[in-house]
């Protein structure tokens, strides 16, 4: 193994098919260690399948999924560096959260019991109740606690907040930032609640229908699009030449989201035209980009069909 040079996560032409469905379609990706990544996409986009391949819990139809340059499938040495708690994670029926943590302490070398205890307290998790009697939120809390206290080199969180209320989710995000600051490691947060986690992410990977739609640093995404609102004619004149992500109109009023980083002069020009410029949140950007890519795809498909 060549740890120093191998990326934390690497996908090479990864495809996973179920019968006639391509859950992942020829994906290639390389992510360096020590960052918080957002794996974003709609439900059924292939997020869980992707993480399943990366953690050796499943195996690809073709291509490779590598962790620090090694195939994790049935490879204990590599698996020991990963933690992946599924969104629908199953636990032994008769286990209590306390027993689940005890098991985790056996397998994760960096397990921090103090962290697990304090998180359990924050989430008000009944430690001795049987897991099958826990609520959906409490069940999620068990997964979150294991994922965090394991302090694995690469941790995957699969929609970790299901059933957690706003307060509990905030606790999760706060504690995650705090712990990451002191113990930097690679964290992959899979989510469709993008707004909530946007500021935590350093890098964003958006997948849709088993393909990568977006793979960029969160910071370079921020402010990379702008919504131009005002008189439809003036808006059209202003946005001429830019990639349009979205169009809305109301009578003579138009609001167009374009992919552009406007200079001060351009901003002034917009102001002189009476156009309003407004920032596009990451969530909107992801949604717009995904939808724009989809309609492009449909367009080419229908064009091909015409030929």
């Amino acid at each position: 193994m060549n740890d120093t040079q191998a990326p934390a996560i690497e996908l090479r032409n990864l495809t996973k098919s179920y019968k006639d469905l391509n859950a992942l379609d020829d994906i290639s990706l390389s992510l360096e260690p020590g960052r918080i990544y957002g794996l974003l996409g709609r439900n059924g986009a292939g997020k869980t399948t992707l993480m399943t391949m990366l953690t050796g819990q499943g195996y690809p139809t073709s291509g490779e999924a590598l962790i620090f340059g090694a195939n994790p499938f049935e490879h204990d040495q590599t698996l020991a560096r990963i933690c992946f708690i599924r969104e629908s994670q199953k636990y032994p029926d008769d286990f209590s959260p306390l027993q689940a943590f005890k098991a985790a302490a056996l397998f994760f070398a960096n397990w921090d019991q103090d962290l697990a205890d304090s998180l359990a307290k924050d989430f008000a998790l009944p430690l001795k109740r049987r897991i099958k009697k826990l609520s959906r939120g409490q069940l999620s809390a068990v997964g979150v606690i294991i994922g965090m206290a394991a302090r694995a080199e690469i941790t995957f969180f699969d929609e970790p907040y299901l059933g957690l209320d706003a307060v509990a989710r905030q606790i999760f995000y706060d504690r995650l930032v705090e712990d990451f600051a002191h113990h930097p490691r690679t964290i992959v947060l899979s989510s469709h609640l993008i707004d909530e986690i946007a500021n935590l992410l350093e890098h964003v990977v958006v997948i849709d229908k088993g393909r990568i739609m977006l793979n960029e640093d969160a910071e370079s995404l921020r402010g990379s699009a702008v919504a131009v609102t005002g008189n439809a004619e003036k808006v059209e004149g202003f946005i001429n030449g830019y990639e349009v992500l979205h169009r809305d109109s109301l009578g003579s009023l138009a609001s167009v989201t374009i992919k552009a980083r406007l200079t001060a002069t351009q901003q002034e020009m917009a102001a002189e035209l009476g156009l309003e410029l407004s920032p596009v949140p990451l969530q909107q950007l992801v949604v717009r980009t995904t939808l724009a890519a989809q309609s492009r795809e449909e367009l080419t498909e229908s064009q091909e069909a015409l030929k």
Binding site: I85, A103, L106
Partner: protein, 228 residues
């Protein structure tokens, strides 16, 4: 290796399921049988198979050790192979302990004249005639066999769900039919029963042992590509 041991430890975190219940079954069924014997009029040898309940419990253990713990072991970043080795190793050890316990209880039974009532619970005639090694081996193989059947069926269900069970059921039925047909057509029944009648406990234990190994191999191959 330490991860294999940790799998065994994980299986034992909840001691009640895998150690407590079989103990309760053993003590409970024995006590109940002796109580019944004490109530019925004396006369002749009293034989009961109730103590064998624990042996059957190994079937349940095989199923539970997979369905309850395998998906969780995946979240614990344990490879299927490690899970398999740790689980099988643990339950083989438990089976061995029970086999020895049965042998010892058989000795006590004989020494106390069938618990003072001429009963037979553990020292079953045909088996207890053999030496210690053969007796222990026999009990051990039976328990491992049942464990493996449960474990493999659970693995097949995990991997192929109801379809797998259906195919398995039909497969077993067809094989049995083919075997019965073959035996009947060739008039092999009489030699077969003669062979069974003359089989020694050791011979039976060894041939069932081979079956155990086959089941263990099949289980591993099934589990290797199973997803939780």
């Amino acid at each position: 290796m330490s991860r294999v041991m940790n799998v065994a430890r994980m299986q034992l975190i909840n001691k009640w399921t895998f150690l407590g219940i079989p103990m309760v079954i053993l003590v409970g069924s024995t006590a109940l049988t002796i109580a019944i014997w004490a109530m019925i009029p004396k006369g002749g040898i009293l034989v009961s198979g109730s103590s064998q309940a624990v042996v059957w419990y190994f079937l349940a253990l095989g199923i539970q050790s997979l369905t309850l713990t395998f998906p969780f072991s995946q979240a614990m970043s344990v490879s299927r192979k490690t899970f398999y080795l740790g689980t099988l190793g643990l339950f083989a050890t438990i089976a061995l302990a029970y086999a020895v316990l049965y042998y010892v209880l058989g000795l006590i039974e004989t020494a106390t004249g069938g618990w003072g009532m001429g009963g037979q619970l553990f020292a079953l005639g045909w088996i207890s005639e053999n030496n210690a090694g053969v007796q222990i081996l026999f009990y051990f193989v039976i328990m491992v066999l049942l464990f493996m059947i449960g474990f493999w069926c659970a693995t097949i269900y995990l991997r192929w769900k109801a379809t797998g069970m259906l195919v398995l059921g039909i497969g077993v039925a067809l094989l049995t039919l083919a075997w019965v047909g073959l035996m009947s057509m060739n008039h092999w029944w009489i030699p077969f029963w003669t062979w069974v009648g003359s089989a020694t406990v050791l011979g039976l234990a060894l041939s069932l042992g081979v079956l155990c190994v086959l089941l263990a191999g099949g289980s591993y191959l099934t589990l290797r590509r199973a997803t939780a």
